[in-house]
């Protein structure tokens, strides 16, 4: 019998973005990369650092700032006052390739790997290209510390009836089955503690991706595995091809 759990989230996070509650949580989560950037900056300017170390520290600074900027970009896109996003037919494979390409330098710098499961004949989906990118980048950023060179983080596309699912599989600590509900509760209670067991998983980014999915009339969710979790987004298959 499979030990995998399944949880699907739909609808209802608008209230989060109508109040300043989330900004406190976001400020708290952005503190971590900023602390790291400050320490790296201090290390770069130290006197007894070799040229090689300085190059490494500079690269770490850049990658850490890019990661923080990705979180900020997701939040920015989410908090814009809009009820929906323009949708278009999107090739999920090309989006996944872009995501892997963007995240690869950071994973490599941490000695980790991120891969895309090969698949032929992937149907077009209905999505907002930028929002889908943000969702998958957030899943990838959150998974960074929960993979290894031996167990790479993997993006996979699968068909589920009239839906296409894009999942990001990691090997981190277990996630609760009511993950998003708990996150909303924490934000509502102003409980700024990080996600239990997974301090490197940004709760704010998960709330943001839930909102982005809603704006695309799609849904995000998690699957529990014995040795990790898959965070996924379900998208409608585009009917464009059937008209040809």
């Amino acid at each position: 019998m499979s030990a995998e759990g399944y949880h699907h989230i739909e609808g209802g996070s608008n209230w989060l973005f109508d109040s300043p509650i989330l900004s406190a949580q976001a400020a708290s989560e952005l503190t971590s990369p900023l602390v790291l950037m400050r320490q790296l900056g201090l290390a770069v300017s130290a006197e007894n650092v070799s040229d090689e170390e300085r190059r490494l520290l500079g690269k770490q600074l850049t990658l850490t700032s890019e990661r923080a900027l990705r979180l900020a970009a997701s939040l920015s896109m989410t908090t814009a006052n809009q009820q929906s996003l323009p949708l278009e037919p999107v090739n999920p494979m090309s989006i996944c390739q872009e995501v892997v390409h963007e995240l690869m330098p950071m994973f490599t710098a941490y000695g980790k790997r991120i891969t895309l499961k090969p698949r032929s004949r992937v149907p077009l989906t209905v999505a907002n290209r930028k929002a889908l990118m943000r969702i998958l980048l957030a899943f990838g950023d959150n998974a960074l510390h929960y993979g290894s060179a031996e167990h790479p983080i993997q993006l996979a596309i699968s068909g589920h009836g009239d839906k296409v699912r894009i999942g990001v599989r990691d090997y981190g600590p277990a996630v609760p089955t009511d993950l998003w509900k708990r996150l909303e509760g924490r934000v509502q209670r102003r409980a700024l503690a990080p996600l239990s067991n997974r301090p490197h998983t940004s709760g704010v980014s998960l709330i943001a991706v839930q909102r982005l999915a809603e704006l695309m009339d799609s849904a995000v969710g998690t699957i529990r595995h014995r040795d990790g979790a898959t965070f996924y987004v379900d998208l409608r298959v585009s009917g464009q091809m059937s008209l040809l």
């Binding site: 503190t31 971590s32 900023l34 602390v35 790291l36 400050r38 320490q39 790296l40 201090l42 290390a43 130290a46 007894n48 770490q60 850490t64 941490y110 510390h145 929960y146 981190g172 600590p173 990080p194 239990s196 067991n197 997974r198 301090p199 490197h200």
Partner: protein, 122 residues
């Protein structure tokens, strides 16, 4: 050579602490979560522990409890590095915490100074 255990789940931050300590002659062992931290303490008892409060899996408080459960590990002074502004040393001292360093404002040298201050009587 005195050993300091650095428990930090963000590897680049851990590297940064390690560089500072090694530059001052300390041997550094590393752990990224509670399980490896306990193993490391058993293998190479450190003169001090530097730890983050954000750890994967069993949290930092569980680890602090575990360390306080044994007479030998309970004596190891602990330095907490955290960006949480509301940490109170009085609340954490029963867990063996001797110093709290605010990671949002710390400078190079603060880590080494803290280790020296908590090991001066050892």
């Amino acid at each position: 050579m005195s050993t300091v255990l650095v428990i930090e789940s963000e590897p680049w931050l851990g590297d940064h602490y390690q560089r500072q300590l090694e530059a001052r002659g300390y041997k550094v062992t590393r752990a990224s979560h509670a399980y490896t931290a306990i193993d490391s303490v058993d293998e190479t008892p450190p003169v001090a522990i530097i730890m983050s409060l954000l750890l994967d899996g069993p949290g930092a408080l569980n680890l602090l409890h575990e360390l306080q459960s044994y007479t030998d590990t309970a004596k190891i002074p602990i330095i907490v590095c955290s960006s949480m502004a509301d940490l109170d040393l009085d609340e954490l001292s029963p867990y063996g915490v001797k110093r709290i360093i605010n990671s949002t404002s710390m400078h190079p040298g603060d880590i080494v100074a803290a280790v020296r201050s908590v090991t001066i009587d050892l």
